[in-house]
C-alpha cells in the first residue's frame, strides 16, 4: 500500500496520466528530430573543422598541381536542393492549414521527393567525376568523405520523405502533423547542409 492512496488534497489519477501521456507524446517525434539534427550538425562540424584546420595550415589551397572539380553540376544541384526545400515548406503549409489539404500536401511532398532524388543523382554524378583520387592528400580525402556523407544523408532524407508521402497518401496522417513536421526538420537540415558544403567545398574551396 502506498502513501498516495491516503493523500488528502488533489493528485493525479491514472486515467488522467494516460490522457496526458497520449497528448504530450504527440509532439515527441518533433522534439526528438530537433535533437537528432543537433547531433548531426556536430558530426558534420567535426569534418568541416578539420577542413578549416587543414586549410589554415596549407600554403596553397587547393593543393598545387591538382585538377579541381567543375562547378557546373554542383551548382545545378544546389539549386535543385533549394527547390526541394521550398517544396517541403509548401507541403508543410498545406498540412498545417486549418482544413487539412491532403491533395496539396501530397503534391508538394512529391515535388520535394522528386527534387531530392534529382539532387542525389547530381551529387553522385559530381562524385563520380571528381578529377582526383581519395588518397592523394587531405584535401582530396575531405572532399570524398564529406560529399559521401552528404550523399548518405540525402538518401536518408529521401527515404523519410517517401515514408511521410506514403502515409499521407494512405490517409494515415490526416489527424497527425508531427511525422511530416519531423521529416521536414530533417530535410531542412539536409538543405542547409547542402548549401554550406557547396559554399565551403566548391565556391570557396575550388578557387
Amino acid at each position: 500500500m502506498t502513501a498516495s492512496e491516503h493523500a488528502p488534497g488533489r493528485g493525479t489519477d491514472r486515467a488522467e496520466l494516460i490522457d496526458r501521456q497520449a497528448v504530450r507524446s504527440a509532439s515527441s517525434s518533433v522534439t526528438g528530430m530537433v535533437l537528432l539534427v543537433a547531433s548531426e550538425a556536430v558530426f558534420f562540424a567535426a569534418f568541416l573543422g578539420i577542413y578549416a584546420v587543414s586549410y589554415t595550415r596549407a600554403r596553397v589551397w587547393p593543393p598545387a598541381g591538382i585538377d579541381t572539380p567543375s562547378l557546373a553540376v554542383p551548382t545545378v544541384g544546389v539549386v535543385v536542393l533549394l527547390v526541394s526545400g521550398a517544396a517541403m515548406a509548401r507541403a508543410m503549409r498545406h498540412a498545417h492549414r486549418r482544413e487539412y489539404q491532403r491533395a496539396g500536401t501530397l503534391r508538394w511532398l512529391a515535388a520535394a521527393l522528386v527534387s531530392a532524388v534529382v539532387f542525389g543523382v547530381l551529387l553522385a554524378i559530381g562524385y563520380a567525376d571528381l578529377p582526383f583520387s581519395v588518397g592523394q592528400g587531405i584535401y582530396e580525402s575531405l572532399f570524398y568523405v564529406i560529399i559521401g556523407l552528404e550523399f548518405a544523408h540525402v538518401v536518408g532524407g529521401a527515404v523519410l520523405l517517401g515514408v511521410v508521402l506514403t502515409r499521407t497518401w494512405t490517409g494515415e496522417l490526416a489527424l497527425r502533423r508531427d511525422p511530416i513536421q519531423a521529416a521536414a526538420i530533417y530535410w531542412y537540415f539536409v538543405v542547409v547542409l547542402g548549401v554550406v558544403i557547396y559554399a565551403v567545398l566548391y565556391l570557396a574551396g575550388v578557387g
Binding site: 500500500m1 502506498t2 502513501a3 493525479t12 522534439t31 567535426a46 587531405i138
Partner: protein
C-alpha cells in the same frame, strides 16, 4: 483498482518460455532498465577479470604472466568496456528505470527506440570482444586508440571501431529519448525546478551525449576510412595530421568524462538528503552547477594534449581550472546537506559518503594535472591511472553502488542485506585506497602507464606487490556484492513502498512498481513531493486523533515504511 489489489491478486504464473519472450520483446522502461544493469554488470565482471590479470602481471618486476601483447590487449579492452559498456550504461540503466518514475510518467517518450538502444549495447560490446576470436587478437592501442598505433591494428581493431560505432548509436538514441521524456512527459506540477537532481543529471548527461558522441563517430569513421579506403586524415606525409584524431577524439572524450560521473552526482544528491533527513542544500545551485559543468566540459579537451605542443596550454588550463568551481559547489552542497543532519549510515549512505571523499581526492588530482607545468611531469605516468580510477571507480562506481543499494528495494521489492552491504563498503573503501593511492607515488617516481612490466632495479616492486594484493581484495568486495544480490533475490518480496523515507516520486508507488507505474500520483508542489505527502498524511492522522496538536512534523522519518 488499488495497489493492494494488484499485490493481492498476482497474475496466474505463466510458462517460462513466455516470460523469457516477455523480457526479450519488452518496451517497459523498468524491464529495459534492469536489462541495462544486468548487461553492464556482466561486462563489468569481464573487465574486472582483465584488471586482475593485469595486476597479477605487475605484481613482480620482470613478470611474465601476460605477454606484452596480451597486456596491451587487456588494458585496451578493460578501459573500453569499463567506459562504454559498464559505467555509462549502468547510469543509463538507473536512468531508464527511475527518470520516468521520478517525473511521474508512464514510460519513456519512445519505448521502442528505448528497447533498440538497449539491444544495440550487447551487440556492440560483443563485437568489440569478438576481437579475441580473430587471429591477431583484439584492439590493443588503448581505449584512446591513438593513431598511428591504432592504424597498424588488424581485424580486432576494426571490430573495436565497429563495436564503438554501435555503442555510440545506442547512447545517442538513449540520450534523445531521455531529453524528450523529460521535456514532454513530466506530470502536472512537475516543473523543471521541481525535478529530482538525478533526473536533472541524466538530462545534462544526455545533452552531453547528443553534442559530443557525434564527434567520436566522426573520429571512428575517419579511422575506418584511413584504414580501408586509403584516406589520409591522420597521415602527416600527405597533409593529414595526428592532431585531427586528437581533437575530434578529445572533443568527445572530455565531455565523456562528465557523462560518466554526472549520473553518480545525481544519485548521491538524492541519497545524501534522504539519509540526512534534510532537504538538499542549494537545490537550484546544484542544477546550475550541473549546467555550468555541462557547458564548460566542451571547452577543456585540449588539456589531454598539453605535451603535444599543438594546443594553447594556458587557455585550456584556465578553462579546466574553471570547472573546479561548479564542481566545488556540488561538493559544498553535499557537505552542507550533511551538516547538522540526522545521519543514518545505511549502505546507500556509506557508499554516497565514500563517493564524496574519493571524488574529492580524484578531483584534486585533476586540478594538479590541469596545470601544464605539472602535467609535463606526470603525463602518461601512473599518476594519471590513479586519477582516473579515483574519479571513475572511487567516484562513479561508488555512486553506482550507492544507487544500487538505494534503489534495489524499489526495483526488486527486496531489501539488500545491510550487513553484507557494510562489509562490501568497508572492504572496497580500504582496498580501493590501498590499490590506487600509491599509484600517485609510482607516477611521481616515473613509472609509465601502459607498460607490461618493469625492471627490478626500478624499485617499484614492493608498491606494485601491495597494490596487486589489495586489488584482489577489491575483487572479493565485488563478490560480496554479488552474493548479497543473489541471496536477496531468493527472499520473499517484502520491501515497503518507501523504505528509506524518500523524497521523490518513485517512492510513491509500490516496490516494485506495477507495469503502469502509478495508480495515483500525489500532488507535486515542491521538489520533494513524497515528503510533502508523508507530512500531510501524518498531519491529517494527528488532527483526527487530537485536533489541538495538529501541525507539520519536523523532517523525521515519519510515515516511512508504511
Amino acid at each position: 483498482m488499488t495497489t493492494t489489489d494488484v499485490l493481492a491478486k498476482p497474475a496466474a504464473p505463466r510458462p517460462r518460455s513466455s516470460r523469457v519472450l516477455d523480457w526479450l520483446t519488452t518496451t517497459d522502461h523498468k524491464k529495459i532498465g534492469i536489462m541495462y544493469l544486468v548487461n553492464s554488470f556482466t561486462f563489468f565482471a569481464f573487465a574486472g577479470v582483465l584488471a586482475i590479470l593485469m595486476r597479477t602481471q605487475l605484481m613482480r618486476p620482470d613478470n611474465n604472466v601476460l605477454s606484452p601483447k596480451s597486456f596491451n590487449e587487456a588494458f585496451t579492452i578493460h578501459g573500453t568496456i569499463m567506459i562504454f559498456l559498464v559505467i555509462l550504461p549502468l547510469l543509463s540503466g538507473f536512468g531508464n528505470y527511475f527518470v520516468p518514475l521520478q517525473i511521474g510518467a508512464l514510460d519513456m517518450a519512445f519505448p521502442r527506440v528505448n528497447a533498440a538502444s538497449f539491444w544495440l549495447l550487447p551487440v556492440g560490446g560483443l563485437t568489440i570482444l569478438a576481437g579475441y576470436l580473430t587471429k591477431g587478437g583484439p584492439a590493443a592501442a588503448g581505449w584512446t586508440n591513438y593513431v598511428p598505433l591504432s592504424l597498424q591494428g588488424g581485424t580486432g581493431e576494426d571490430l573495436w571501431i565497429l563495436g564503438l560505432l554501435v555503442v555510440g548509436t545506442s547512447s545517442l538514441l538513449g540520450a534523445i529519448n531521455f531529453i524528450v521524456t523529460v521535456l514532454r512527459l513530466r506530470a502536472p506540477g512537475m516543473t523543471l525546478t521541481r525535478m529530482p537532481i538525478f533526473t536533472w543529471a541524466t538530462t545534462t548527461t544526455s545533452i552531453l551525449i547528443v553534442l559530443a558522441v557525434p564527434s567520436l563517430t566522426a573520429a571512428l569513421l575517419m579511422l575506418l576510412a584511413d584504414h580501408h579506403l586509403g584516406t589520409v586524415f591522420f597521415n602527416p606525409a600527405h597533409g593529414g595530421s595526428v592532431a585531427n584524431y586528437l581533437n575530434t577524439f578529445w572533443f568527445f572524450g572530455h565531455p565523456e568524462v562528465y557523462m560518466l560521473i554526472m549520473g553518480a552526482w545525481g544519485a548521491v544528491s538524492e541519497i545524501v538528503p534522504v539519509f540526512s533527513r534534510k532537504p538538499l542544500y542549494g537545490y537550484r545551485f546544484v542544477i546550475l552547477a550541473l549546467m555550468l559543468i555541462m557547458a564548460l566540459s566542451f571547452t577543456v579537451w585540449g588539456h589531454h594534449m598539453y605535451t603535444t605542443g599543438l594546443v594553447n596550454d594556458s587557455f585550456f588550463s584556465v578553462t579546466t581550472e574553471l570547472i573546479s568551481v561548479p564542481t566545488g559547489v556540488l561538493v559544498l552542497c553535499w557537505l552542507f546537506t550533511l551538516w547538522k543532519g540526522k545521519l543514518s549510515f545505511e549502505p546507500p549512505m556509506l557508499f554516497a559518503l565514500g563517493f564524496i571523499a574519493m571524488f574529492v581526492i580524484g578531483g584534486i588530482d585533476g586540478v594538479w594535472m590541469a596545470s601544464p607545468a605539472a602535467d609535463f611531469t606526470i603525463h602518461d605516468t601512473y599518476f594519471v591511472v590513479s586519477h582516473i580510477h579515483y574519479v571513475l571507480l572511487g567516484g562513479s562506481l561508488f555512486g553506482i553502488f550507492a544507487a544500487l543499494y538505494y534503489w534495489f528495494p524499489k526495483m526488486s521489492g527486496r531489501m539488500l542485506s545491510r550487513r553484507l552491504g557494510q562489509w562490501q563498503f568497508w572492504l572496497l573503501l580500504i582496498s580501493f585506497n590501498v590499490t590506487f593511492f600509491p599509484m600517485h607515488f609510482l607516477g611521481l617516481w616515473g613509472m609509465p602507464r601502459r607498460v607490461a612490466t618493469y625492471p627490478l632495479s626500478s624499485g617499484w616492486g614492493l608498491t606494485n606487490f601491495i597494490e596487486t594484493i589489495s586489488a584482489y581484495v577489491i575483487a572479493v568486495s565485488m563478490l560480496i556484492g554479488l552474493v548479497n544480490i543473489i541471496i536477496t533475490l531468493r527472499k520473499p518480496r517484502n520491501a515497503p513502498a518507501d523504505p528509506w523515507g524518500g523524497n521523490t516520486l518513485e517512492w510513491a508507488t509500490t516496490s516494485p512498481p506495477p507495469p503502469h507505474n502509478f495508480d495515483r500520483l500525489p500532488e507535486i508542489r515542491s521538489e520533494r513531493p513524497v515528503r510533502d505527502l508523508r507530512l500531510s498524511v501524518t498531519a491529517a492522522a494527528r488532527s483526527e486523533r487530537s485536533p489541538r496538536t495538529a501541525g507539520p512534523d519536523a523532517a523525521g522519518p515519519v510515515g516511512a515504511g508504511q
